[in-house]
Symmetry: D2
Subunit: 392 residues, 4 copies
């Protein structure tokens, strides 16, 4: 499958939800794709020795270490994969880049613009030496989303007039759902805005190929106090009957944006939309057609071609499982759909390809910084009562 | 079907799109519903004598007159139905009320807040004498929308957290679509904002039972010059190859709002969403459940009950054609859906019931004024660069 | 709207569900369409004098008579509209044709093939004298269905490989739903097969332009005894606690068919599909594309064009509300959908056009007989244990 | 992750489409699930030495062998996984069982009833010694399908009245799609009937917990001659311009069935339904509710509860991604859907659990034989002109 010279040792930091998803991707990518550079799962790092050891066994890592710093000194590690909460991203990523390791860092890039700027600067410096950094806006690599971008780039929908982007979840709608690090401003930076709003900001800019030049928005916390979690399971954990904790982040964010091409954008990110489990919705209306996507039907893309004759025009429900579709040829026959984790596998595929070719992978840390500035603009608008904030 | 004392003579002003819809409603309501007060289609008014005569014949009015003022002096007319462009609403409606005629006025109530205030004051004065005024936010009376309001009122979704409301059309997305009075600020007051945004503002407030306390928004005109229409057909008419006219209204409006109960609302009104023909979408997320509606499937309401056991919870696709549903018992068996014009018939039914009972029909002119103030807030926000405008 | 010479007096027999639908159509057609022959609603016939008088007032008929025979001798009646249970169709329709009256007869044409043959013969004889007969397979005139046929005729889907047709209701799934004439073999001829199966047999043949050359099938009655109805309301009425009646028809029918062009067809008609209210589903797969329709979304047609490039091919969700679509130009702007009863209005429009032009309206009684023979074939197959019955 | 005593060596025969899917499952199951018996991927067998070696490397097998018989003599292989065309199933599976190896065999169990009977007998004999056999009707283990069965077993939809089951693909609708072993009766036994019809027969019986007592059906081959494939890719390969081959199996099958509980079933299996890529649709209507599934939206199950109050009853769109749903807790948070291959992982999980516990895994070879008898019944009905064939 590979020779020694075309291997890349990977060290991962963190092994919770994102760590499991990344591990599945590192394991699976070489099984379905011909990679010019083959990842080797060298070591996973965590603070609790027994837990990280168990995680290494379960997730398929050769080794377990209790300090992420250890990964930076290992010769068999060429890339550090950062899967920890946002407050640690800057420290780990910058140190790893300075140690000459490629970095894949989960989103959002950081908890503050200042951190993101430092990271972006570190990435730029490292790139001078061929050391690369990438931020994990994974949903870009859902085939239907990648197809949407491709259709925009081909000019199929013309100039972009409207983007409406929503990321709707419901795991906090129940006031008895327990605390988690995601609800602690110290760890998470922000709430729905940074955790899921970041994804739709990235998708809106990525799919249209444009950037946001200004925003206005509102943030809201509907439930200010929650039971502490006794154990963690999935996103939300299990509540402790007695103790409570204070929610210090937003439960929901709504914002407007202006696109660089002149179009209008609306955004919504919430964990309070009962019945919407992971509804990432993106609709783009252009001068020649429209595109619509909803992650709850992740193998579908809807496309309206306004140049069709009127009697038979209609949104086409494209089942994005054809070999002609991005990433799909490596998988199953038409109609045999993919799931959530496949986008992580595609991320590994693209990253290995770029590293092997000496190309800058995307989204870069600079791209991540740009998203961070949009989020920061929304926070400033909300703090100032909802006024307009220019990002130009 | 009725005795002389339980009849109400109706005079209608205007006979284009809205006039046709209203006529169908006046004709049809007594055929399916037991009305305590039966409308008689006495006369239709218009400026062009031959055209209004032809319209009277086609639409089923006893008489045709060439000045709306004539309707006000007729003893056989007890109600004036105003179906003209917005710039004429105030003059006609106020005069009719002062002449002691009930008034049904198409939306938006007026082109400016000042006019709407005058109309609302006139309506209040007339009400002292039992003369009533109502504004035609007809979509309230689509059975699925009426059911949505009822479920909110019953407490089924708890406190409202989110409203996301969109009114998407595409009839102007083609830059060659011709001018119409709807694109002329003088006649129409505003563009997408007043024409269709008004509907979703009303629906959001009506379904939740709350009001908007502040807004921020952006307006945009994507196409500034269009061919003049040589003839009118449907919404958009037929283009004249040579002459062009200037579009003086917005093509699209996006705005955020805060609800009186503390929830967040997003709004979008556009005629540039290719492939969306008349997509009035309303989703409401509450503390105990959610509701979702799309006029492109107007006989459906989607309802999520968060108190269900998790394994079988899901949005219920309610086919709103059961006899238990609002207005439906008078029509067809389950599954035999209704169409656009039925909401106008329901408007007649409710109006006749209220007038017979001496009740104030809803939405009142005061309700219409409240919507107008929201639209005005959005315009002021947009004019000021998107800042927040308090409506309290 | 018309001159004396271009009017046609109509007399209707029966005034229940179908009578109400037909009356709305007779009233409405001339209001939206330019008709070369304008119907006048002269008289409605029924057995109960007081009830028929009330129905005439409510439904808008000039006169009420207590014997349908009376309609045949009136000079002001040129067409008899038969809206009674199936056991009376043959007698009334044949007599009317022999009296020189055009006939519109509800489906199914008759309760037996013998009756249908007699009716077809009478229609053929009458046609010699310019007297026309038509059977009311109304769903043909839902715009989305008419568009489906048009696309097949244009060759858009090529040769037909598969038809899958279902008519699913649930109003008898509750064993406490009461008896009605529709459950009595004497009155109704058959159950789900003739009442709703007839519609999908007609639609399958009409949309494809082919005929069924053989069938095999099963019939089933799930609930054999039901409470008698104390009053009738909608399809199912209100149950009487004490008395019960015997169901003598099928509750459900499933059958296979072979199309004249060699394709395969599956059919299902049932009133026991909980949650499906009036789900008339038709999917046709051809050598070049596919079409799909579901009456629960009656304004939509789904069309797959297999000649599209693979990356963007997908079922198009056509919102059948464009002026280019059959019947639609006379109604509302795009996206403002139609309802159940509009197909009856279109039936009047087509019938008036054909009569004015001296053309045979479709579906003719011969077409109705062909459907009857299919239903009879299914009944013979079921009676014989499910074997194949050739219809050639 | 395991001790030596709780491991099971696996040897796989075949490494094409099914081999890739099975390999992913063997690799992945222990990463997400706590297995009482951990599979070890010992060896893959194939005829072409170089190809099987490459496959072993890519798919993650320790070893590659060129004769399946070799697997039977290895001590480190405790289970043989048969992923070859149907004509080889009987020989391999029977030999493996006789050699004391557990067997997992792809569906359909065999190409003929006689072979299936021999296999079932061998499985029964082996079971006496604790050696187990299972057939791979994998779709049972899609979470939404498993949930459907569970809801039926809990009595949620009452007695089953109707099953409508369809498996629709389109990869042969183009007459230029090339030959494959799946179109050769010698290798495949039958066409759409055995390849995909087998799945929906199994699903119908599995979800309802009933069996088919009789069938009638039609088979059809629409395209009799096709270009030979020069290379294989996905299901359909790439066509050779010059040579053609003869299709000796059915392109499509339609059939009716009677369920053991008295309900009616309709089936359709075709590769000629343009636009339907892998649409496995199952709808079950019971006396108290309904269920509906479509693999094109594989993470959804639709459930109608007829005991709900009428005003809010509706098909619930259950997003089957909650931890309470079958198999889901081991994967991702709600809304992060699964894909096609996950059902294979679940198959491994269930099989390992059963083997560790000494239980008979399901579906057994006897279950596979029962499906085979249904398929045989359909073939006999079709051969005899579509008459009824009793399976009792």
């Amino acid at each position: 499958m590979s020779t020694a010279t075309s291997e890349l040792g990977v060290g991962m930091v963190g092994y919770a939800f994102m760590g499991a998803a990344h591990s599945q991707a590192w394991r699976t990518a070489p099984r379905f794709f011909d990679l010019p550079l083959v990842p080797r799962m060298r070591a996973v790092a965590g603070r609790d020795g027994a837990a990280v050891r168990a995680a290494a066994d379960r997730l398929g890592w050769d080794d377990a270490v209790t300090g992420w710093q250890e990964l930076l000194t290992r010769d068999d590690v060429g890339l550090v994969d950062v899967c920890t909460p946002g407050d640690t991203h800057a420290e780990i990523a910058v140190a790893a880049l300075e140690a000459g390791k490629h970095v894949l860092c989960e989103k959002p890039l950081a908890n503050t613009v200042a951190e993101a700027e430092a990271m972006s600067a570190a990435a730029e410096a490292a790139a001078q030496h061929g050391v690369r950094a990438m931020v994990g806006f994974t949903y870009r690599r859902v085939p239907a989303v990648a197809l949407a971008r491709q259709l925009v780039q081909e000019g199929r929908i013309g100039e972009v007039r409207h983007v409406r982007a929503q990321y709707l979840q419901d795991w906090l709608a129940d006031p008895k759902a327990p605390m988690s690090w995601r609800l602690d401003k110290q760890k998470a930076g922000s709430g729905a805005l940074g955790d899921i709003g970041a994804h739709v900001v990235d998708l809106a800019q990525h799919v249209t190929g444009e950037s946001l030049t200004g925003v206005s928005g509102l943030l809201e916390t509907f439930v200010h106090e929650r039971p502490e979690a006794v154990s963690s399971s999935g996103l939300s954990g299990v509540a402790d009957a007695g103790r409570t904790g204070k929610v210090t982040v937003d439960d929901a964010a709504v914002f407007l944006g202006r696109l660089s091409g002149g179009g209008l954008a609306t955004f919504e990110a919430t964990r309070f939309a009962w019945g919407r489990k992971n509804a990432i919705r993106l609709e783009v209306n252009g001068s020649k057609g429209s595109l619509a996507f909803d992650f709850e039907d992740m193998n579908l893309l809807h496309y309206y071609d306004a140049t069709e004759e009127s009697a038979v025009a209609g949104f086409r429900r494209i089942v994005v499982t054809e070999p002609e579709h991005p990433y799909v040829a490596a998988w199953w026959p038409p109609g045999h759909g993919l799931g959530y984790e496949h986008a992580f596998t595609h991320q590994v595929v693209d990253l290995m390809g770029d590293l092997a070719a000496g190309r800058q992978p995307t989204p870069s840390f600079a791209d991540g910084l740009r998203v961070q500035r949009v989020l920061d603009g929304v926070e400033r608008s909300a703090a100032g009562g909802g006024g307009w904030v220019s990002l130009a």
